[in-house]
């Protein structure tokens, strides 16, 4: 047997290229060609009517080729951008135009589009456009949206885009009858994906062939392709979308089409020259999507053991100015906040509210960090009220290993039942307690107290629905050289797909890992695909790649059996050579390249390999060269479409120190127990966890989008939006894995991409509150992120009130 690669820490094939600066991103495409450059005039006001736009004088500038406003757009381009994911309860869904029509609803909304010889000139030209505004009162923040003194959209009463309620059992009745009850108000502020590379699009129109090629930094090249074709009135077959290397997505690049993804191709076709748009950092802050901002109210009833008898959650989701991505984020919060627990009865109601701020679409975790924060804060509050250990209260509420599949009686984001497939939550908790040293912590705390230091410990648990459908596909092609070319349609933003998928193919086909080459996100190679989001690539494309490789293997064995005059069952494939089991090396064997040659009867011989395959030299002259049920070529293609999502889970714990004098928060130890089913490549999974924890530290302790009351984002730079540096994240993260295979896919895998970031707000709130508990009993952390200044203010308020 070829050494099995599934489950091995295979070094990433991508890393040499990326670390040596050889990555090729969208801004690198067509450099040195006849490129024109685009820039966008963006609204400086959060809410205003556009009275007039004066572009006279812009085209006078040497080197400016085009200036467009909404008036210049026609047909589908002049319509609002698509509402990608409609929902019956999204009764008042609204999307923006590619260029604003009559009104702007957030600072950063696109108003005019300029194409010039270079980006400098394009920005100079923007400065010459004069827009007359009639100011409207802005709605900023959940409270202002709820108050609805002013409306974001005139025709949306109460600023309510959607109201959705789900209930399993009689939650309010159960709470009323419960021996203990609690209520909590919990807030999470806005943050955003902030990938290193912002958005960007390059387009080239070929007038000779009537074809459009679009390179774009996206999480769904097939989605962009369909949108571009529809908006520009082109046949799908005229449009190719290629996703080059992508410098991070984290969710923001799943929304599509962005205005520039349509305007750049339109300009390329109109001008007959390639056009590029590269978003700058300020543009990314004010015109790409944000997430996280939600306000929650919890009512819970529980028994003496801390078992939740009834849970009633209401929350208000700030969806920004538009709803292109539907209700995905709040639906995920409303369903995934249950985590590993089984409340007696559960009711959740949310309202999705318009504000005059950048739109909200999923950001890594996609509503789960908020849900986890709500549930875990509730668990901590119950433990505090009962005087019980926080792990005991959680254990009392766990779904047990013998209860799977577990149906929550709710509908998940994919429209399917919220049914967990597998997991071992008590087992995970035991591992976490051992890893962080939960039982030994009181001794450590005493030691620290003797030195005058405050330390606290916290934990948080989550369950994550991953690998949502509808499908992904893969194509595996064995070339006559014996090399294996693999294509899958979803895109890659640094996840190491070229490594993980090659491992799967190497195992399934019996070839060496270094003979496998993976391409993602190129619609020329795989036109049917969905995209990379919701921790779905390993599950969806991983499974499809596996199935496609098995199909190729079937064909290999069929041809090789014929060639070797052996039964297929007697054959094995090792390191790319098919041989009859039990025969000495070199006898009765054929390599994959030769099998590929044999699979393709040719008329023309252009090299030695093809000579062997011409229809005159092989095959049975009495039969057609290609049999009726066969195809030429050594290929396998297959699709994977699961019944429902598969549910990964995990638990984080952290020990923090809070400075008695300065309220600075230091991380002393961070531990993660993670169960994403079978691990394809543990090193990649651990990398995802490291990155997730780092991003989570940012979300919990540093990052927030600060809007002032006029709707200006006042920290739209990396100087004031505090993404953590390497110096702010734990130097070491203790990780332990459980592998509870998913029964839903052939590989037994679950998604791992978002996991690391989900419990961050919850786990830090728990630990900081614990650190303060002896000094400020009852001090509750109910809003995240938290800064030293915030913690200081909480201490002050606590001292004043006690």
């Amino acid at each position: 047997m070829t050494t099995k690669l599934f489950g091995e820490k295979v070094p990433r094939v991508e890393d040499q290229r990326f670390l040596r600066g050889k990555g090729r991103y969208v801004d690198d495409v067509l450099v040195g060609h006849d490129l024109l450059h685009a820039a966008v005039l963006r609204s400086p006001h959060a809410h205003a009517r556009i009275v007039d736009i004066d572009v006279s004088g812009v085209l006078d500038v040497d080197g400016v080729h085009v200036v467009w406003t909404h008036d210049d757009l026609a047909g589908a381009m002049a319509d609002p951008l698509p509402l990608l994911i409609p929902h019956p309860q999204l009764t008042h869904g609204r999307t923006q135009y590619a260029l604003a029509k009559d009104e702007v609803n957030y600072v950063g909304e696109a108003i005019a589009f300029v194409v010039a010889d270079d980006r400098y000139l394009a920005e100079d030209a923007l400065g010459r456009i004069r827009v007359d505004y009639e100011f409207l009162p802005p709605v900023v923040g959940v409270e202002s949206a709820r108050a609805a003194e002013h409306l974001v959209h005139d025709d949306v009463p109460g600023n309510v885009a959607a109201r959705l309620e789900q209930e399993n059992g009689d939650a309010r009745g159960a709470i009323a009858a419960a021996p203990h009850t609690l209520s909590l108000d919990l807030t999470i502020e806005r943050s955003a994906s902030t990938p290193m590379e912002g958005r960007g699009t390059v387009a080239r129109w070929d007038p000779d062939t009537g074809r459009l090629t679009v390179w774009t930094s996206t999480q769904t090249s097939t989605g962009v392709r369909a949108a571009v074709a529809a908006k520009l009135g082109l046949d799908l077959a005229q449009v190719d979308v290629i996703t080059p290397d992508v410098g991070g997505g984290f969710g923001v690049k799943i929304n599509h089409p962005w205005p520039e993804e349509l305007l750049v191709p339109l300009a390329a076709r109109t001008l007959g020259r390639p056009v590029k748009f590269t978003e700058d950092r300020r543009e990314h802050f004010i015109s790409s999507a944000h997430e996280r901002g939600q306000v929650h109210h919890v009512e819970v009833g529980y028994d003496d053991d801390g078992r939740v008898l009834g849970l009633d959650v209401r929350f208000w989701h700030d969806n920004g100015a538009y709803t292109p991505y539907g209700l995905i984020v709040p639906i995920i919060t409303s369903t995934q906040l249950l985590g590993p627990y089984k409340p007696g009865a559960y009711r959740v109601v949310f309202e999705s509210l318009y504000t005059n701020t950048v739109m909200v679409t999923p950001y890594r975790g996609a509503g789960r960090p908020q849900g986890c924060f709500v549930m875990e804060r509730t668990m901590d509050a119950i433990a505090a009220a009962l005087g019980k250990d926080r792990t005991e209260v959680r254990a009392a509420n766990f779904i047990q290993p013998d209860e799977f599949p577990y149906d929550h009686g709710l509908v998940f984001q994919d429209g399917r039942e919220l049914e967990y497939d597998s997991g071992d939550y008590p087992g995970s908790l035991e591992k976490l307690k051992a890893l962080i040293g939960w039982d030994e912590f009181p001794v450590f705390r005493e030691e620290m107290e003797r030195e005058g230091r405050r330390v606290g410990i916290g934990l948080a648990c989550y369950v994550e629905g991953t690998g949502v459908g509808p499908y992904e596909g893969a194509h595996v092609h064995v070339e006559t050289s014996g090399k294996v070319k693999v294509a899958t349609g979803l895109t890659t933003q640094g996840q190491g797909h070229a490594t993980a998928f090659a491992q799967i193919v190497a195992d399934a086909l019996g070839v060496r890992f270094d003979r496998v080459e993976v391409v993602t996100g190129d619609t020329r190679r795989m036109p049917y695909a969905v995209g990379t989001f919701a921790s779905r690539a390993a599950v969806m494309s991983g499974s499809a790649v596996h199935l496609a490789a098995l199909r190729a293997r079937e064909k290999v064995l069929k041809i090789a059996a014929d060639a070797l005059e052996a039964a297929e069952d007697d054959l094995e494939i090792v390191d790319g050579v098919v041989s009859v089991r039990g025969t000495p090396d070199g006898t009765a064997s054929i390599d994959l390249g030769t099998v590929a040659v044999l699979s393709n009867p040719l008329r023309y011989a252009f090299d030695e390999a093809s000579k062997a395959a011409t229809q005159f030299s092989v095959g049975d002259p009495g039969k057609p060269p290609v049999a009726e049920d066969d195809e030429p070529g050594l290929e396998g293609k297959d699709f994977y479409s699961p019944e429902r999502s598969t549910f990964a889970n995990g638990m984080h714990a952290v020990i923090v120190e809070t400075d008695a004098e300065t309220a600075e928060i230091r991380i002393l130890k961070y531990a993660v127990v993670h169960d994403c089913g079978r691990l394809i490549n543990p090193m990649i999974v651990e990398g995802q966890i490291h990155g997730g924890v780092a991003q989570g530290v940012g979300g919990a302790l540093l990052e927030r989008m600060a809007y002032d009351e006029s709707g200006q984002l006042v920290n739209a730079s990396f100087m004031d939006f505090l993404m953590p540096y390497v110096t702010e994240v734990p130097a070491h993260i203790d990780i332990d894995h459980l592998e509870t295979p998913s029964p839903l896919n052939p590989l037994g895998v679950k998604g791992a991409g978002e996991a690391g970031v989900i419990p961050s707000a919850a786990v830090f709130a728990s630990a900081i509150e614990d650190a303060e508990a002896s000094y400020h009993p009852g001090l509750a952390i109910t809003a995240m992120p938290i800064s030293p200044s915030d913690l200081f203010a909480l201490r002050q308020r606590h001292e004043e009130s006690s």
């Binding site: 400098y120 300065t662 600075e664």
Partner: protein, 293 residues
């Protein structure tokens, strides 16, 4: 994020640079560019001419003599920080520099540029003020020396005239009886401090003969506070508290994105205590070293 159009000159001699600067009222000097270039890119500044002084000869010196630590206009933060001579002659310069941004910025940014940029949240303007240093500047009509006490006119505003180029900053050598301290707290390592405090304390015969403190990010201009009287010769909880009170009366902690005024006031107290103790101990250590050697 592309600058508005501007003319660019890169003179090879000082006279030429001074003429280019004087010729255009909209001209700005470009040295390390660590503050100016982002402002240009965001079009928050749009000078009509950039006078790049990086090709000027003999301005990248870091020299120590009895007159002090002399830092040329083209010496990078990293050059100054790497100098053992500087560390021995005026350790506060080296200590504060280690808090200036990140290595990549220190590799390019100049100490003199930072000083005349006059940002009250930056370390080096405050250090120059605390130590009572000076800046030598040149114009077509000659050179002059501006004492630190007269250098800062307002927020991000120095008293350099438009046609002047700063040539050198001079920090006094630390007197044998003095000790220094510096601490700051920032949201992230290398960020602008929420509050930063420097101290220089003179100890004679075990008694504090003088003590001055310099503050970052809690006023519009780099602010130096003399707390000699408040300390009344010694460090105690009470005297440190008194020193903090004196300081806070001269400071204006404000609310911003990252901290409330109340929190900044707390940090002023905490850091004042820490740096006073550190500077006092430093002075005692130096006295002890002198006796031993």
């Amino acid at each position: 994020m592309k600058p508005a159009p501007f003319a660019f000159v890169r003179p090879q001699g000082l006279q030429h640079a001074l003429e280019a600067l004087a010729a255009d009222p909209g001209a700005k000097v470009l040295a390390g560019g660590q503050s100016l270039v982002p402002l240009l890119s965001m079009r928050l500044a749009a000078p009509t001419t950039l006078v790049d002084i990086n090709a000027l000869p003999d301005l990248d010196h870091v020299r120590v003599d009895e007159g002090g630590v002399h830092v040329g206009a083209l010496a990078r933060h990293a050059d100054v920080l790497a100098s053992d001579h500087v560390r021995r002659a005026q350790p506060l310069v080296s200590l504060a520099l280690s808090h200036v941004a990140h290595p990549t910025i220190r590799n390019r940014g100049t100490t003199v540029g930072s000083i005349v940029h006059a940002d009250a949240a930056a370390e080096m303007p405050m250090v120059l003020a605390l130590l009572g240093g000076s800046v030598a500047v040149a114009s077509r009509s000659g050179t002059r020396t501006i004492p630190a006490a007269e250098l800062y006119a307002g927020p991000l505003e120095s008293t350099l005239h438009h046609d002047e180029i700063a040539l050198e900053a001079t920090f006094p050598v630390l007197a044998p009886v003095d000790g220094i301290g510096f601490e700051e707290i920032a949201r992230r390592h290398g960020d602008y401090a929420l509050v930063g405090v420097g101290a220089i304390v003179r100890v004679e015969a075990g008694t504090i003969a003088s003590a001055r403190l310099g503050y970052l990010s809690v006023s519009d201009v780099p602010t130096v506070v003399d707390v000699t009287q408040a300390l009344a010769g010694e460090l105690s909880a009470g005297s440190i508290e008194a020193a903090s009170e004196v300081a806070l009366r001269q400071l204006e902690p404000a609310d911003d994105l990252h901290a409330t005024a109340a929190y900044r006031s707390r940090l002023v107290r905490v850091l004042t205590a820490r740096v006073l103790r550190a500077a006092y101990d430093h002075a005692l250590d130096r006295a002890r070293d002198r006796i031993e050697s």
